[in-house]
Symmetry: C2
Subunit: 343 residues, 2 copies
């Protein structure tokens, strides 16, 4: 593989190279490249031409050290492979787009220890802000966030005490609302199917809110089934089969996410079960995927895009509230009954 005939892969270029090539001081080159300060049009062009010709790429490491400013925003999330966080990312990226800030993602795989170390790693690059999923962190992580001296936004969830700002929905309330809708529709033998991950606090809170509302109506879950890992769609089928076999009296299945709910829905339809007459179904997240299903699954959207958008606005200091930090912004998901809750 012969590389293109570059004269010599010489050491990487610096401002000095550009300054020499264009006959001005390094400072002037720096000013041109950052569009800062006054530079005459003719020098500007001479400098730009030289930079382009040499293929100069500025060294942000040196720049950041000198200016004590870093245009990075640390974004720490549990996973990229479900449908929810990529959409949050989209909201963040879109909003950051024209602020000069850039998101840098770290993935924790729902592990608190990994979260701690990812956070440490990212903070060591001195970002201008942190967006981090959830309100539950290790003690050390909490301390780092509190001491960082930069805006912190905890996203997705507001049931707890944020370090600084928070943007999200109340999962407890979401669980409650869904339970109320289900009860109102006349279902009484309700089962829960969800993830077992010990650290998915938001799924846990939804379940808590759900059971709370059931209790208020004098009901308890008739059955529950948990899973971890694997193809969510397939797991949804399997779990549904397991529950329906074990507890034939069940008339409603509440899933902790849409993906397994979709699996359950496909299973029920395949089995010829009357949905929502005989059995009702509901999921959580409001993922786009559902639009393509034979029947629309009842769900609640989690305001993912909006969460990303608002979090980014807070970091960029352009949130309408105008506050400096320490705000808790609650968003309100809407319940979409779809075709799988009767009434």
């Amino acid at each position: 593989m012969s590389k293109p005939p570059s004269p010599e892969p010489r050491r990487t270029l610096t401002l000095r190279d550009v300054s020499e090539a264009s006959g001005v001081s390094e400072m002037t080159v720096s000013r041109v490249l950052r569009n800062r300060g006054d530079v005459s049009e003719t020098t500007r062009e001479r400098v730009l031409e030289a930079a382009r010709r040499l293929g100069y790429v500025p060294n942000k490491i040196a720049g950041a050290l000198a200016s004590q400013r870093v245009n990075l925003v640390a974004v720490i999330i549990p996973s990229l492979s479900n449908m929810v966080f990529p959409e949050v990312m989209t909201g963040i990226s879109d909003t950051l787009e024209d602020t000069g800030l850039q998101p840098v993602v770290g993935v924790t795989n729902y592990s608190p220890d990994r979260e701690e170390s990812v956070l440490y790693e990212m903070l060591s690059w001195r970002p201008s802000g942190v967006i981090i999923a959830g309100l539950e962190h290790t003690e050390a992580a909490q301390a780092m966030l509190a001491q960082a001296g930069i805006p912190i936004v905890e996203i997705m969830d507001i049931d707890g005490n944020p370090v600084d700002s928070a943007v999200g929905i109340s999962h407890r309330r979401a669980g409650r609302q869904m339970a109320e809708a289900i009860i109102a529709a006349g279902y009484r033998n309700i089962a829960f199917l969800g993830t077992m991950m010990p650290y998915d606090h938001r799924a846990r809170k939804r379940l808590e809110g759900f059971e709370e509302a059931l209790a208020k109506a004098g009901l308890v879950l008739v059955d529950r089934e948990f899973y971890s890992g694997g193809s969510a769609l397939l797991k949804g089928r399997e779990m549904t089969e397991a529950v329906l076999t074990r507890s034939p009296q069940v008339d409603f299945l509440y899933y902790s996410n849409d993906m397994i709910g979709a699996g359950g829905l496909l299973y029920c339809l395949h089995k010829g079960i009357d949905v929502p007459g005989q059995i009702g179904l509901a999921g959580f997240n409001g993922v786009e995927l559902l639009d393509g299903l034979p029947r629309k699954l009842a769900t609640m959207d989690a305001c993912r895009l909006e969460i990303g958008r608002v979090a980014a606005e807070i970091i960029a200091g352009k949130h309408p509230s105008g506050q400096i930090g320490g705000e808790v912004i609650e968003l309100f998901p809407t319940l979409q009954k779809g075709d799988t809750i009767r009434g």
Copy 2:
């Protein structure tokens, strides 16, 4: 929101703070914190204790500038919201895990210009390597890659000329193979349904290979349908309906990805079409999702995890081939006939 009662949000800590707190030189602190060089056990502990107590987080910006070493690997991909790149990311992360290297993702949304600017931005942080999707880049991007002086790995595709190394599959060959299997199964009236994105070169190459094999058998596509954006599952349904309405003679539908293929499959099953008797279906990617479908869609896995793994190994300099760079590693996807190709 009162913060925890930290005595004073004082300026951020430096090595000097730790060195004063532990009564040794900054250099020694640096050595302890990096586990490098000889330090007596007692001083090491004194330093660590002080660092922990103060909550010191090293400044990698300064460190990187001084040492001319950055433990970041730039990963530049078109999207995070389909199922393919997250899995590549997983392969990369897993492999980088114990090398001290850290991936940093940039997303281009399939836009060459955005790719160029993301690349520029990332190179300005002087990463130790670049993993970038595809072989097609703007001229400027090509130049930057060639000049960067660090290992570059272009992933997913090997039908073209890599700047340095490449890891991927031949999409042209993949398209050909699928066509051959379809023809061998006796289908003759074949339609293509896929993405319209002008910059999805890999989908384009698959289609090219596909048509090439058809031609060799004296066949041409009976129909074709393109889309962009929206819920892939839903689009799959809609496109399938459109094609079947327009060209009732069609007996095979080749989709450019599994997601729209799944939508098509659900549509066909819903319409009571005999699959694979009356109509056969095939997708591409081998996503886990398919496992949960009522019938398994024929597909070809794209070796996503493996691609990520190998790319990361090359960057980390621990690929078995032992070469320094400039290698092209072709992986071979396997065709899974599933339940949607007869025979």
